[in-house]
């Protein structure tokens, strides 16, 4: 954490409400995000208990599993979830625009441009917290290898038809969420913590209610007090007034409310199964429906506050203007979405349990590259982020005090103007270090030529940095107008590059060297489904 963030936290403590950690919004917020507030059953691996899901804040769809250990009920939940999520995703898969992509021609081996489709917009899934993202991944993993009755008529416990497809999509969303700066699947608490600094620790910021209490405390209540209430206040029955954002539930809720309700449901179901005639069955069916309704009400009571909090958070984020580079990163999300759409359409098998060496290396390289890109772009978009980089000596800002035109030696001299910048920052400039600035959105680079003697106030603060501008000045002998800073201009140079270069190219998966396990075992057979056991939990 940079000292600037730390100061922000301390200022927040004193002010009693959160302080800005960003001056622009660094992530895309879709106009129509799909919000998912899931709950799981404690102890069972990701076994869903219920969820609120939907795109309309006023009308979420409530899903509940009255007996989380019952496989059929879990499948019914997942099928219902698929009914909401898949049409939402499909809605974005159809509208496309033409785009170009460079691909290696398989015959000639040359890089050629090909016309491809790019989805005009992409879906966005928002969950309350980081744990919600993990659950999306887990649900994806649990569903994508399932077999439906159509695929495998013999197997016991077939999955409902669209469940494996939902598993593949959730896996893709979960995988994409690991790419820095991506917005296909995001956790609201992380978005908020990125844009506001609260007066509590980062650990405590993971509590969505407490985080929101700091950012937007009720009128006249200090943030710390509001956050404490969100964290701990309980009603007369010992239930939290602000239920945790999940997916885990509060143990007091499990033990005092949920467990008795599940037990009542079980009893009603056993009674119904034992009913001897139609009349009796009708009565008992009524009892069962009532028990189920009770559990649905319980699930709604724990998810609705979080649902409202998520939309409240979205409202707060929307008040920030979008950063200049967000659109570009969102386009990468659209490519990612389009790519997976194409893989699904092409009938490719679900994502494997484990990536092969080349895919894994590619993923890691992509994440590192995107992290570097995100760091650079956020700094360029946001003076507050840039301030952190300046404090760290990775950038400097100042006023141009002198410009001297100079040229390269040679038959066709090119301009290499020397620009002197007075700065109070302390960049870590090595000899002939490259620095960069943004010139109408494109990076211009310069070379550090040395420090000029400072005749002004020699109070130790500030330095005169001489830079030799290297490029983006046109082809002529004279630099193009506006391409060289003028005396009196405010400029900001960074020591990091603005655009990321791709790393070394990795071989195709079929040419994986033996050091990395050799080519992936050439079985084209689809990965087997998880074995179904009697006590299967998900």
């Amino acid at each position: 954490m940079s000292l600037i963030t730390t100061l922000g936290r301390l200022e927040a403590v004193r002010a009693g409400h959160a302080q800005p950690a960003a001056t622009v919004r660094h992530r895309r917020l879709s106009d129509r995000p799909l919000v998912l507030v899931p709950l799981t059953t404690a102890g069972e691996t990701g076994a869903p208990l219920g969820a609120l899901v939907g795109t309309d804040r006023a009308a979420p769809r409530l899903l509940a599993v009255p007996q989380p250990r019952d496989r059929d009920l879990r499948f019914a939940f997942l099928a219902e979830l698929a009914d909401v999520v898949l049409p939402y995703i499909d809605g974005y898969a159809e509208s496309v625009e033409a785009a170009e992509r460079t691909e290696t021609d398989p015959e000639t081996g040359k890089r050629v441009k090909v016309e491809v489709e790019l989805c005009a917009e992409a879906p966005q899934l928002i969950v309350p917290s980081r744990a919600g993202i993990d659950l999306v991944r887990l649900l994806g993993r649990s569903m994508r290898f399932r077999r439906t009755a159509e695929q495998d008529p013999e197997a016991p416990h077939p999955a409902p038809p669209r469940v494996p497809l939902l598993g593949r999509w959730l896996t893709h969303f979960g995988e994409r969420a690991r790419v820095p700066g991506s917005s296909l699947l995001t956790a609201l608490s992380e978005l908020l913590a990125r844009h506001w600094t609260t007066g509590q620790s980062g650990l405590e910021d993971q509590h969505l209610g407490a985080l929101l209490a700091w950012i937007d405390p009720p009128e006249g209540v200090p943030g710390a007090e509001a956050a404490l209430r969100a964290e701990l206040a309980r009603d007369a029955d010992g239930q939290l007034l602000c239920p945790p954002a999940g997916p885990a539930t509060d143990p007091a809720f499990d033990n005092r409310l949920l467990a008795p309700a599940v037990e009542r449901y079980d009893r009603a179901r056993t009674a119904l199964a034992a009913a001897e005639d139609g009349l009796e069955a009708d009565d008992r069916l009524g009892a069962l429906t009532a028990a189920e309704r009770e559990i649905r009400a319980l699930v709604e009571s724990r998810t609705r506050p979080t649902w409202d909090a998520v939309w409240h958070g979205i409202d707060l984020l929307r008040t920030l203007p979008e950063g200049a580079h967000v659109e570009e990163r969102w386009t990468r999300d659209r490519w990612s979405f389009t790519g997976h759409r194409d893989r699904v359409l092409a009938g490719e098998p679900p994502q494997p349990r484990r990536d092969d060496a080349v895919t894994a290396a590619n993923k890691l390289a992509a994440r590192e590259r995107e992290q570097a890109r995100l760091d650079a772009q956020e700094a360029l978009d946001d003076p507050l982020v840039m301030a952190g980089r300046r404090l760290a000596g990775e950038a400097f800002a100042g006023e141009v005090t002198d410009v001297v035109l100079a040229y390269t030696e040679g038959r066709r001299p090119s301009p290499r103007p020397l620009v002197t910048v007075r700065t109070d920052d302390r960049p870590h400039l090595g000899e002939r270090a490259r620095v960069h600035r943004s010139l109408d959105g494109r990076p211009q680079s310069a070379e550090f030529a040395g420090y000029a003697p400072d005749e002004g106030a020699g109070d130790g603060e500030g330095a005169l940095v001489v830079l030799r501008i290297m490029d983006k000045m046109g082809r002529g002998r004279e630099p193009e107008a506006g391409s060289v800073p003028e005396k009196g201009d405010r400029v900001c140079f960074t020591l990091f590059e603005h655009e990321q270069r791709g790393g070394a190219k990795l071989p195709d998966a079929e040419r994986t060297p033996w050091t990395h396990g050799g080519p992936p075992g050439g079985s084209d057979a689809p990965e087997p489904a998880d074995p179904v056991t009697e006590e299967d939990v998900l």
Partner: protein, 396 residues
């Protein structure tokens, strides 16, 4: 009160007084011990745990309940899974140990499962030690597998004994001992949540330490294996799968931290007379009693200590910057309160020659500049309607 005969009984009496009359001591478990070792500087936790005070009850009595609790769903499933792993005389468990840790040994056929019941914790500890000695036999082992189901081990923690109950300990045919930890979080495609595995490893390291004490009393001392067996449900099923976890590092860290714990005697001696932590006392008196022992609160405590909310409230009230995270404290040099730091940052106090103060002032200046730039009219800065009017100059 009759005069104490020895220093040991004196301490025991002193700790009993701290607990309060008629209050049973709460045994330290491995989880608490691992948490204690993670924050060795906290005297409050050390004395309360050492005296066997029920911190959850104490937190309730202080009016800041801990919020720790276990869902009965998780509890039931954890028990069901453990029972399944140990079913049938531990056949499945021993098969896992054999395959994962000791494939060279002869496969476990019928294993010894000695009865470990005895009266009282001391009795159970003695029974466990005896069973371990019998199962180990002559140097080189007895050639048979033995499973100890829920043995009880004792470990000296800062001068008072803690009783620890691992899920199981296995004695190999060659006489080596292995700690088995059974957890109900899943191992998905061969990997599990690293945070949970880390916690399990720290817990197992405590058992390894305790086992080593038992082993040291045997001659020759049988080897305590430094790789423990972590048993978890496989993927989404209820079937067990296992993985060997090397706990040498955690063991070394825990051992070092335990030696660093201030001796409980010393803490107890520093307390004023008449201090008592009995949950039956009024809240004001308890608050004063708790205040007599210094704590070292950090946000990590929230996940590990029942008293954390109380300590947090005190820490915040005192304006301690550590309440915002240990890393925050680390970069602020000698400044430890919010007011000191802000005064230094805004040039109201502090020595500008101090590098920490100089860095703070630069940070404050840069932050103010950036916020002013963003808020300047015309610039496409942020306007937060929720905040409008309230946040004109966050850095004065």
């Amino acid at each position: 009160m009759p005069p104490p005969r020895t220093r040991g009984t004196a301490l025991r009496q002193r700790l009993a007084d701290l607990r309060g009359p008629g209050v049973q001591a709460k045994a330290l478990d491995a989880r608490a011990l691992a948490a204690l070792a993670a924050n060795p500087g906290c005297r409050r936790r050390a004395i309360l745990d050492g005296a066997g005070v029920d911190k959850a009850a104490l937190a309730d009595a202080l009016g800041v309940p801990s919020g720790f609790g276990q869902s009965q769903f998780a509890f039931m499933r954890g028990n069901a899974f453990e029972a399944r792993v140990k079913a049938d005389g531990g056949a499945e468990l021993l098969r896992l140990v054999h395959r994962t840790l000791d494939p060279g040994a002869e496969p476990p056929g019928r294993a010894e499962v000695p009865d470990l019941t005895a009266a009282g914790p001391e009795g159970r500890v003695a029974r466990t030690a005896l069973a371990l000695r019998e199962a180990t036999g002559a140097p080189g082992g007895t050639g048979a597998w033995t499973l100890l189901d829920h043995p009880l081990l004792a470990l000296d923690v800062a001068g008072s004994p803690a009783f620890l109950e691992p899920d199981a300990v296995v004695v190999h045919p060659d006489g080596g001992w292995t700690v088995v930890e059974i957890k109900s979080f899943p191992m998905l495609d061969g990997s599990a949540d690293p945070g949970k595995v880390g916690a399990a490893a720290r817990q197992a390291a405590v058992y390894v330490l305790a086992l080593e004490e038992v082993a040291a009393r045997l001659d020759p001392a049988p080897p305590v294996r430094q790789r423990v067996l972590l048993v978890c449900p496989k993927d989404f099923s209820n079937l067990p799968t296992a993985s060997a976890v090397d706990v040498r590092k955690q063991r070394a860290v825990t051992a070092r931290q335990l030696t660093r714990l201030t001796r409980i005697e010393d803490i107890a001696d520093a307390l004023p007379g008449g201090v008592c932590f009995s949950p039956g006392l009024p809240a004001a008196q308890l608050t004063a009693a708790v205040e007599t022992v210094p704590a070292s609160y950090a946000p990590e405590c929230l996940a590990a200590c029942e008293l954390a909310f109380h300590c947090r409230a005190r820490s915040r009230a005192a304006g301690a910057v550590t309440a915002l995270g240990r890393s925050v404290r680390a970069e602020l040099g000698g400044l430890s309160t919010v007011d000191d730091v802000l005064a230094a940052a805004h040039g109201e106090a502090g020595d500008p020659g101090d590098p920490a103060v100089a860095a703070l002032r630069r940070a404050a200046a840069l932050r103010t500049e950036a916020l002013a730039l963003a808020a300047a009219p015309g610039a496409d800065g942020p306007r937060d309607p929720a905040r409008a009017g309230r946040e004109v100059s966050p850095c004065r």
